[in-house]
């Protein structure tokens, strides 16, 4: 068939209305997939980009010594931008006053990504700038300015050099690590560093080299760098630098990916239903054409041509609309997110196009193949079977196709495999259950029930295979929706719990035992609620089971959390947000070694160090040795912003080592000047401010929440599409049946209540199955995809069946009202 003939055929079929629903489903599928995929991709790109603000770069090389000059020239030669940061602690002096400051010397290019917040007065209005101090200039933290009674232009000395106070420094993009915040910040230009003479051989100095560029450049440089790196030098990305934030972003990306994959699956289900109807509607047409002399090949070409053109049209139109949808979504996020969105790429369009092609192939080709086999005798005998009995095999082909699509899209075989398996089980369960229930209900009510109920049951029974397919597909749609809906609430609740209003945003460490009661009095006087005092001893882990840490194979002793002094603590009760994963909490513990002290270890560290219950650990605490034995393993949430400890001991075990206390508390932004009073009263106590980090986290969470809300909305549209396709699939036979019933004298009321009951029953059943399926899916997704705890959600058993029944009844009513208003004769004449 030539292209002109194909176009002519297509235009006829289109005008005749046969292609409408399938075309609409295809177009919507492309629209939604392109929309979701594009939105997710661009948002995720934007968020990753923004998250790099928190590193002030794309990658960071951390080292205790300065690196050879050629490492930086090599990076620049490879197209990367670089900046250098040197950090150390030193005293800052003004007049007679001195304060310990955490000093940073930064190069001209710092920060590579993000901005510095500065002001002309302490705690003043923020102004964003994208470079650090000029030479001869020093920028000080507001608190330091307050402590030293300084104003802009005053002279400040650091080591042997004098500086002019240039700005109050309110925020840095990469102010994150605890060590960074042990003392208030002072920032100078790196070129002034030598003049201070503070940094001498042997000084405790940390170097951060910042790199920015595209992923390929970064990877190429990382590969070049890797063989040069020596012990104590670490190449980090966001995951290492900001684990809490990276975790939030990872979950959000996981969610968006899951949502888009389910969007693909739902669009596929809608196409499947529409393609079935397309096949059914054309069965008689094919019989006529065959009677008029059409050969099978001609039929195949004819319909293949129609599908190809339909699919191409849907791809173009749906793709364009999908880009429009992305813009609408981003516009609706305006005000909520303040990030630069990367331009659209071709990938989401390709995803949409391939979804359409694969869906058409797996869902529309089997009905088309069946069409080509329709017997011409059907023109004389309408009752002839139309070969539509292979629902199971075409369902399996479809599921397989959708599974492959999801795999291709998510590049995650676990995720797509789990979703496919869940869909398959749910589909089979739904179909089996529906067939069983229908025959049961029919037998039970055959003689007794009357009126609408019997009518509904009779209609359900007649279309039992179609109904089984419908319940299965609608249950899948509801399951997807429920899973995503519940997951969204869970994620939001989880994030908000970490960042709830009033969550601690300041830490105090180095509190001496004799300072505890004056500090309590200070907190009481200023009505500050603290999170309780935790004792803390600094110690270093040296041996595991009598072996030196660095001699143990398979342990990365250079990881930041191992090869340094870490905080050890003791407590009578298990901290509120910690959970025992193995072993027991004291006093019910027993240790093998008579002199060993029990210790509880954080789970991730235990895995990293291959620690088991009974492992013997040696610590060096200020030159004294301590031997302990692992008695329990705890999991905890590092993003909780509470004092968390890798190692916890029973009360009484660490008292002999000189220790101090730690606490955390919440301080509103307006009360910040109170910190000056606090530090004046307790000069040896160290204050750590994490309010800036929490604020950054809050911003990210707000963006992510809004984004996943919108994506969920799109999935709702997909689910509605499935229910519409579902109702439409049976519209013709419904019209016909009800026309007959009304001709036979059934009242409109009876027909109407019969219809409503049938749709409600289908929706209710689908809802029940979806509630079960989504609980299983949620457990799996939370546990294995999003790295959260699996929780059983009982409430969905109430909500989802009702939602299903109402949605189905409403959609059914909307589309079938013509059944009631069309004169029966007209319907019978038409069919």
């Amino acid at each position: 068939m030539n292209i002109v003939a194909a176009l002519r055929n297509f235009s006829r079929a289109w005008r005749g209305g046969e292609l409408g629903l399938l075309g609409f489903s295809l177009c919507l599928a492309v629209l939604i997939v392109t929309g979701i995929a594009g939105f997710s991709e661009r948002l995720s790109g934007a968020m990753t980009q923004q998250s790099h603000h928190f590193l002030a770069a794309d990658r960071v090389l951390k080292t205790a010594r300065s690196i050879p000059e050629n490492w930086l020239t090599e990076a620049q030669a490879q197209g990367l931008r670089t900046a250098s940061v040197v950090s150390f602690r030193s005293m800052v002096a003004a007049d007679e006053d001195m304060q310990l400051a955490s000093v940073r010397g930064v190069s001209e290019a710092y920060p590579l990504i993000g901005e510095l917040g500065v002001s002309d007065t302490a705690f003043g209005e923020v102004e964003l700038v994208n470079r650090g101090p000029q030479t001869g200039e020093i920028w000080l933290d507001s608190r330091l300015m307050a402590l030293l009674n300084l104003a802009l232009g005053d002279e400040v000395s650091l080591g042997e050099a004098n500086f002019r106070l240039g700005r109050a420094l309110l925020s840095e993009p990469d102010r994150g690590g605890m060590n960074d915040m042990l003392a208030p910040r002072a920032m100078i230009n790196i070129r002034d560093l030598a003049a201070t003479e503070v940094v001498q051989p042997g000084s405790l100095v940390r170097y951060r080299y910042l790199f920015a560029g595209n992923t390929e450049q970064l990877n190429a440089y990382a590969a070049w760098l890797a063989p040069h790196l020596i012990e104590g030098q670490r190449w980090e990305d966001l995951r290492d630098g900001q684990p809490a934030l990276a975790n939030t972003l990872k979950r959000a990306e996981g969610y968006l990916l899951l949502a888009a994959s389910l969007g693909v699956a739902l669009a596929g289900a809608a196409i499947a239903l529409a393609a079935r109807r397309y096949g059914d509607r054309n069965t008689d047409n094919v019989a006529v054409m065959k009677a008029l002399g059409a050969q099978r090949r001609q039929i195949l070409y004819r319909y293949l041509g129609q599908l190809t053109l339909l699919c191409s049209g849907a791809i173009v139109l749906g793709g364009l609309l999908g880009f429009g949808l992305q813009e609408i979504l981003f516009r609706s996020l305006q005000g909520l997110i303040d990030i630069e969105i990367p331009p659209p790429s071709w990938r989401p369009f390709m995803v949409g196009a391939i979804t359409a092609v694969v869906s058409t192939s797996v869902f529309a080709l089997p009905p088309l193949w069946r069409l080509s086999k329709v017997a011409p005798l059907r023109v004389l005998r309408r009752d002839l079977a139309d070969n539509s009995d292979d629902l199971l095999s075409s369902g399996l082909i479809g599921l397989l196709g959708v599974g492959l699509l999801m795999w291709w899209y998510s590049k995650d075989i676990q995720l797509s495999g789990a979703l496919l398996l869940a869909s398959l089980s749910l589909g089979l369960l739904a179909a089996g259950l529906v067939l069983f229930l229908i025959s049961l209900a029919r037998r039970a009510t055959a003689s007794r029930s009357q009126g609408a109920l019997r009518l509904a049951l009779a209609a359900i029974y007649r279309r039992r295979f179609g109904n089984a397919f419908q319940v299965a597909s609608f249950a899948l749609a509801l399951m997807a929706l429920t899973t995503l809906g519940v997951l969204r609430s869970t994620l939001l609740a989880d994030w908000q719990m970490q960042l709830s209003e009033g969550a601690p945003n300041h830490f105090l460490i180095n509190i001496q035992p004799n300072e505890i009661s004056p500090l309590d009095a200070f907190f009481a006087e200023h009505q500050i609620a603290d999170a309780g005092l935790y004792p803390m001893v600094r110690g270093r882990l040296t041996h595991i089971n009598e072996m030196l840490l660095k001699d143990i194979d398979g342990i990365d002793a250079e990881r930041g959390n191992v090869n340094r002094e870490i905080n050890l603590s003791w407590a009578r009760e298990l901290p509120e947000d910690n959970r025992l994963e193995a072993g027991a909490w004291w006093p019910e513990v027993s240790v093998n070694g008579a002199d060993n002290i029990a210790v509880s270890v954080e789970q991730e560290l235990a895995e990293q160090l291959h620690l088991k219950l009974g492992s013997v650990l040696n610590f060096n605490i200020g030159g004294q040795a301590l031997q302990a034995e692992v008695s329990s393993i705890r999991s905890l949430d590092w993003s909780s912003m509470r004092p968390n400890f890798y190692f916890m001991f029973p009360p009484g075990s660490l008292e002999k080592y000189a220790g101090s206390y730690i606490t955390s508390f919440y301080l509103a932004e307006g009360d910040k000047p109170l910190l000056t009073a606090l530090l004046r009263a307790f000069p040896t106590v160290t204050l750590i401010e994490i309010d800036a980090v929490i604020k950054q986290m809050n911003t990210v969470v707000a963006q992510v929440s809004a984004a996943i809300g919108l994506v969920l909305l799109l999935v709702v549209v997909c689910a509605l599409l499935v229910s519409v396709a579902n109702v439409q699939a049976s519209l013709d036979s419904r019209l016909h049946e009800n026309a007959i019933l009304r001709t036979l004298g059934a009242s409109r009321k009876l027909v109407a209540s019969g219809l409503l009951l049938e749709f409600s029953a289908v929706g209710l059943l689908a809802g029940l199955l979806a509630a079960l399926g989504s609980n299983i899916a949620l457990y799996g997704v939370q546990r294995w995809v999003l790295d959260m705890d699996g929780v059983w959600h009982g409430e969905v058993f109430l909500v989802v069946p009702v939602l299903g029944a109402v949605t189905m009844a409403a959609t059914g009513w909307f589309y079938c009202r013509t059944v009631l208003t069309t004169p029966p004769l007209l319907v019978l004449g038409r069919l």
Partner: protein, 237 residues
């Protein structure tokens, strides 16, 4: 033009074999018109389906235009129909998505003939529906739909026209008009006509009448003007 030898059709219903046609023999010459008459369930439509190659016989042979269609594949039979056969159905069987004109063009396009639109217009004009060419079947009355179906059947200038109860879905008056049109077009094109009906007056318009009874076909007489034997034959049914 049409020759049938010992044609049988049996279907199995459960364990039971049911003979629908039992050894039909029949010969219809080119240009003849023949009616197959009988009550519902007598096997008329089954015979028509076999004659037109829409179905396979259990045994026996059907020769159409000199070719044994019983040994042909479905596609070969379709190709033969495209060249030589026209159809008129009881339920019109117009494609609902196509306009009247496109419905008439359909068989012309399927058989790859050129000038389909022009030819279709000529035949729509012949059935008096030149002005309704762009209307869809749902916008046409039953009689108009059957006239479109007639135009479609004759547009391919078939050697043989099969008509299955062409007035079965129409009121008497409309049915009468359709029959007039059918016979007018038939005589104009000198087509061999095989008409299945249960209406006696309609059967009488054909040159030959065959009665189908319980799967057996009998030709009661050559139509030489005397109508009585077929009446008596029908009375006996």
């Amino acid at each position: 033009m049409i020759r049938v030898q010992d044609l049988c059709k049996t279907v199995t219903s459960g364990a039971q074999e049911l003979a629908i046609l039992r050894g039909i023999n029949l010969e219809i010459k080119a240009g003849e018109s023949a009616a197959i008459i009988g009550v519902s369930g007598a096997g008329k439509s089954t015979l028509l389906g076999l004659l037109a190659g829409l179905d396979n016989a259990s045994s026996g042979a059907v020769f159409l235009h000199g070719q044994n269609i019983s040994v042909m594949t479905e596609d070969q039979r379709a190709s033969l129909r495209a060249k030589h056969v026209g159809f008129v159905f009881q339920s019109f069987q117009l494609l609902p998505g196509l306009t009247a004109l496109e419905n008439v063009m359909l068989p012309l396009e399927l058989s790859g003939r050129s000038g389909a639109a022009a030819k279709a217009k000529v035949f729509l004009d012949k059935v008096g529906l030149a002005e309704r060419g762009h209307h869809y079947p749902r916008q046409l009355s039953g009689g108009e739909q059957q006239r479109v179906a007639l135009a479609r059947a004759f547009a391919v200038e078939p050697d043989i026209l099969f008509a299955d109860e062409p007035t079965g879905n129409l009121d008497e008056h409309t049915g009468q008009r359709i029959i007039e049109l059918l016979f007018a077009l038939n005589s104009e094109s000198d087509t061999t006509l095989v008409l299945v009906t249960h209406e006696l007056p309609l059967a009488r318009r054909c040159e030959r009448q065959f009665v189908m009874h319980d799967g057996v076909l009998s030709e009661e007489f050559d139509n030489d003007g005397v109508a009585k034997p077929i009446d008596s034959a029908l009375d006996a049914l």
